[in-house]
Amino acid sequence: MKKFINHLDNVLVESLSGFAAAHADSVTLHLDPHFITRKNKAVNKVAIISGGGSGHEPLHSGYIGVGMLDAACPGHVFTSPTPDQMLLAAEAAHADKGILFIVKNYAGDVMNFEMAAEMLPFESATVLTSDDCAVINSTYTNGRRGVAGTVIVEKCVGSLAETGANLQACKALGDKVNSRTASIGVALTSCIVPAAGRPTFNIDDNELEMGVGIHGEPGRRRETMREADAIVRDCVDAILTDFKTRNFEPNKHEALLLINGFGATPLMELYLIYNTAAKLCKQQGIQISRSLVGNYTTALDMAGASVTLCLLDDEIKQHWDSPVHTAGLRWGS
């Protein structure tokens, strides 16, 4: 393993400290237990709080700021944060209109946020994101995993919350965005969890993992490496099939196309993927009217990328376009 590390036990705190220092204009870091809040606490709005294992940066701390999250709870690498972090974050961010937790659908995250919600002295609701369509047989699982589509949910719900909308409305929009979003990821290499010191899985030079999760957990199947167009076609096909299974007609909607890098794939390749994916969508009659390309939900140093399609309506479009000022997403004013 070759990584920038001083001491294994300090990786998370040193990284969080650097993040807080680099974005001192907009965030405040609280340690032991760890949580990050907006520097200037919002007033009279639903507090939007997310969190999850670290290693997915900029998710979630990078999305704290006006127009998106109020606070985030970073866990250890790929490990859900704990209820005490969530309770303190909720206490710090609570702005008199309740707490909305945005939680990626993984057993650990769900259980920890569930226990926090049970202990919380405020009104709360939870949006579970589950955009990963890689998990084929949903009867065999806890349901689909929450992956890069979570960024779209956080952006839209964050925007709505700024308007003073109530908890139920924020939850409803989050659930709607999630239901209209589908993602699938492909890994070309494994990631290395610093504390483990070696790759999470073995993969040969001529192989790819189709349907990989954002922790390097295996996906649908191991396949032979092939040209980019063929890989991207399989991703887009999986997404469109998923929408059709859920009775959506993708060609009747405008869509947001997100190409997300897992950490070790250069932007040059991500744009190449976008090029192919956008063409394939167009061939299917889908009008891509919004786009995002970059590293937004990473898996440490995994090479690979995910494709996410979100079917837009006027409300989602409005909240996607609204101003946002965070470390990871920033536009408008």
């Binding site: 490990t79 650990g108 957990e217």
Partner: protein, 209 residues
Amino acid sequence: MKTEFIIAAAKAIQQTILANENTLESLDRAIGDGDHYINMKRGANTIVDIQAELASLAPNEAINKIGLKLLSTIGGASGPLLASFFMAMAKVLRENGDESLLKIAAAFAAGVQAIIQRGKADIGEKTMLDVLIPVSNQFKLLATPNGDIKLICATLINTAEQGMQSTKDLIATKGRAAGLGDRAIGHIDPGAKSCQLMIEAVCKLAMEA
């Protein structure tokens, strides 16, 4: 049950977790995400670290403290599940007392029930419950007033081993391996393995006592 035994059990659990680093890591790398050993180690170390604080508590209080500490230390799925186990176990010990094997077995069963509820899982889903449910059932059956502690412990070690091995041929329907479908077949569940190790460690300790 004495708090002294609980602390000795925490140390025995720490030892067995540390001694099985390679086993737990490779199992989790095969069908999980590679963090199970790290999380279990963090949990075990934390409990041993607070042994002085635990020593001043009654057994049920010490077990509740262990639950709360694990809840704020481990994270992941193991954190809330193990915390739910200890907190539920502590509650039953507080209400019913801890002076007989029968009462300890009832508290253990309540702990397992709490894991079932929190994790919304059951036997046969390739999780820690494939060890815990059979062990709990066996424990309740054997924990009679005249039960021989050595015989009971030996049986529970055996039951835990069988439960752990049984996860090998299961498809995972809960937990991180649930996305794998048939590919999880042939691999022992890491959570089942760590539970088996912990039960073995505590039972061996009880046999020596």
